[in-house]
């Protein structure tokens, strides 16, 4: 039981991180919120498209990726969001 709890321990900082994200979004002004919205919407769409597309490709015969477990989907979303943010922000310079 103790080992199971300790393996799930990273969930706690993730919850704090979500709270920080929420409060920082509330403090942002309208332009920054718009940039964040564009970035996160694009990231969500891209992540969804990649995962669903590969799901269909697996059905069509592509190899099942053993190293890609469920846990990598959220980091993929965050990574695309992070990469997209300066690209979208650059438009408003």
């Amino acid at each position: 039981m103790a080992t199971h709890c300790s393996r799930a321990a990273p969930i706690v900082p993730i919850l704090f991180g979500l709270r920080t994200l929420s409060s920082s979004l509330n403090q942002m002004d309208e332009l920054q919120r718009r940039i964040q919205l564009n970035a996160i919407a694009f990231a969500a769409g891209t992540t969804g498209m990649i995962t669903v597309t590969y799901g269909f490709l697996e059905n069509a015969g592509f190899p099942h990726l053993l190293l890609f477990s469920w846990i990598w989907i959220f980091p993929m979303l965050i990574a695309i969001w992070g990469i997209n943010l300066p690209i979208i922000g650059w438009r408003y310079r």
């Binding site: 002004d29 309208e30 920054q32």
Partner: protein, 56 residues
């Protein structure tokens, strides 16, 4: 949207950061409004007007 914000701001010798602080927005927003790359929402546009006008 074209606007005279930069002209009015430089007339009063304000920095972008100063105007941003008065309007409680980021400097990036003021720059984007001045260069015409962003059209502010109505509340911000009105706030803009008051802060620039009442500074006289």
């Amino acid at each position: 949207m074209k606007n005279r914000l930069r002209v009015l701001r430089t007339e009063r010798r304000w920095f972008q950061a100063e105007l941003a602080e008065k309007l409680d927005v980021s400097r990036q927003t003021i720059n984007a409004i001045e260069t015409g790359k962003y059209s502010p929402s109505l509340p911000l546009a009105f706030q803009n007007r008051w802060s620039v006008r009442t500074a006289n």
